[in-house]
């Protein structure tokens, strides 16, 4: 059975907001909303292609990433000073496991290739 929404049965601030939003598609508000939607799309298109905006976003994101890297490095140094294992140590173990997995895959691929190439043995009937 499919779910249906009875707006009268759903009463809280969230659903009031939802109902209000729904009315944007009906009545006199719909024309205003459609115009806003068109205007917004045009503005967004301009913004999404604006070199200055994208450049500023890029700088801001990069600073955020560098800050996080620096913070993590600081934590790592502190943990090392306390002779505690760090996430860097665990990553090294994961890297080695990845390498082992790759070698195993290479062996399996070679085995598969040699099994495919192996000629079918000739069956000779002996005379008894």
């Amino acid at each position: 059975m499919s779910t249906r929404i009875d707006p009268n049965a759903l009463k809280n601030a969230w659903t009031e907001w939802f109902a209000g939003l729904g009315h944007l598609g009906q009545g006199p508000a719909s024309q205003v909303y459609k115009e806003w939607e068109t205007w917004f799309s045009v503005q967004f298109e301009k913004l999404a292609n604006n070199e200055t905006f994208l450049g500023t976003m890029a700088k801001s994101m990069e600073s955020n990433f560098l800050l996080k890297s620096q913070f993590d490095r600081m934590m790592e140094t502190s943990a090392r000073a306390l002779r505690m294992p760090t996430s860097g140590d665990i990553e090294q173990i994961h890297k080695r496991l990845d390498e082992l997995e790759r070698r195993l895959d290479a062996v399996l691929t070679r085995l598969e290739a040699s099994a495919t190439k192996r000629p079918t043995p000739k069956v000779e009937k002996g005379e008894g």
């Binding site: 499919s2 779910t3 249906r4 929404i5 707006p7 759903l10 809280n12 969230w14 659903t15 939802f18 109902a19 939003l21 729904g22 009315h23 944007l24 598609g25 939607e37 917004f40 799309s41 967004f44 999404a48 292609n49 994208l54 450049g55 976003m57 890029a58 994101m61 990069e62 955020n64 990433f65 560098l66 996080k68 890297s69 913070f71 993590d72 934590m75 996430s87 665990i90 990553e91 994961h94 890297k95 990845d98 997995e101 790759r102 895959d105 399996l108 691929t109 598969e112 495919t116």
Partner: protein, 356 residues
């Protein structure tokens, strides 16, 4: 939760998640998407490695075709869009037609997967899937089927190990990344330092992936509610809406090193398209892909625009390339109500015609 991002930031993240969860609980169930069921067709897990599972969907009724399919979905969102809803599921449709389907579920990458490479996801995981299928079925060749970025991964695998591929189906697969619309524009090296991101976060966090996609189409955050209101009394509309909400909100972290190579080699340098991408020391020469190829395109695709996907016809070495274009969007190819009658029969018929 993604283990990689655990650091001194964790308490702040935990607080943010608790606030989000509390806000979700305030929303009546009819308007919630995140707890809608995901996937419904029964399957068996036939192989696992790390976070990855290989799922087997047996043909419903009689198996009509010898060659099974291996379906690879993108690393963005989850595979079960291919099993969207009863009556609107590509997997359900194909198994109903008598095809045996294997699907790769990439799972949820953790900090342990941050150093996994493009090679690990292709030669490693897809290689493992191919070996498992061949051994289970006692066959030499498999139909490879890729959707979205999963198709780019599958295509790489097919170019590196073409001998086991019976055919390749590319459904909305990005190939020429310089034709990638807004995403191609935003990921230019001058606007996007992928090294700084991966070095800082390891796996790309969910919030960052989500904010990128929301920014691509900001109006949908309003229009989806308006649409829900408009369709609130239509038969099945609310269930479909909730299912789509659940799927689109079910993001997973993107494995860090795979992301670095994806952005750098595909979006920024576009070397994949030129057959110059290098994976585990081997060049991904797309001319090696000589098997029959089916290209499935969506006319209104704004994630993988037609020209971006159509480039496959020029770069593969196959002499047998079929192109089918459907009047829908990127996700519509796998979940539209029109798909079971208008899109998928053509795919099934093509696969049937190329059965061993």
């Amino acid at each position: 939760m993604e283990a990689q991002s655990r650091s001194a930031f964790t308490p702040f993240q935990a607080f943010g998640e608790a606030v989000q969860e509390a806000a979700r609980r305030m929303v009546p169930i009819e308007l919630r998407g995140h707890d809608a069921p995901g996937g419904h067709t029964p399957y068996d897990v036939v192989a696992t490695r790390g976070p990855v599972r290989l799922l087997y969907y047996a043909p419903r009724g009689e198996r009509r075709f010898k060659t099974p399919l291996l379906i690879a979905y993108s690393l963005i969102n989850r595979y079960y869009i291919l099993d969207f809803m009863p009556g609107r599921s590509l997997i359900e449709y194909l198994t109903g037609q008598g095809h045996a389907c294997y699907v790769v579920d990439w799972g949820v990458p953790t900090g342990a997967d941050r150093h996994k490479t493009w090679g690990d996801y292709t030669l490693g995981y897809l290689g493992m899937a191919m070996r498992t299928i061949k051994a289970r079925e006692g066959i030499e060749r498999v139909h490879l089927f890729g959707y979205c970025m999963g198709g780019t991964l599958a295509m790489s695998y097919g170019a590196l190990r073409p001998e086991g591929i019976a055919s390749f189906t590319a459904m909305a697969v990005p190939v020429d990344f310089h034709e990638g619309g807004l995403l191609a524009h935003w990921t230019q090296p001058k606007f996007f330092n992928v090294d700084a991101l991966v070095d800082a976060h390891g796996n790309v966090p969910i919030w960052l992936m989500e904010s990128g996609f929301r920014f691509m189409a900001p109006l949908t955050n309003v229009t989806k509610w308006r649409d829900l209101w408009a369709g609130r009394e239509s038969e099945g509309f609310v269930d479909t809406w909730r299912q789509m909400e659940r799927w689109s909100a079910d993001n997973v972290p993107f494995p860090g090193e795979v992301y670095r190579q994806y952005i750098r080699d595909c979006y920024q340098r576009n070397v994949f398209c030129r057959g110059e991408m290098v994976v585990d020391g081997e060049r991904v020469d797309l001319k090696n892909l000589t098997c029959p190829v089916l290209v499935v395109l969506a006319e209104k695709d704004n994630i993988v625009p037609e020209r971006m996907a159509m480039a496959i016809t020029e770069v593969v070495g196959s002499n047998d390339v079929t192109v089918r274009t459907f009047a829908t969007g990127h996700i519509g190819l796998s979940s539209s109500s029109k798909a079971p009658k208008a899109f998928w029969p053509a795919i099934s018929a093509w696969l049937a015609a190329h059965d061993a």
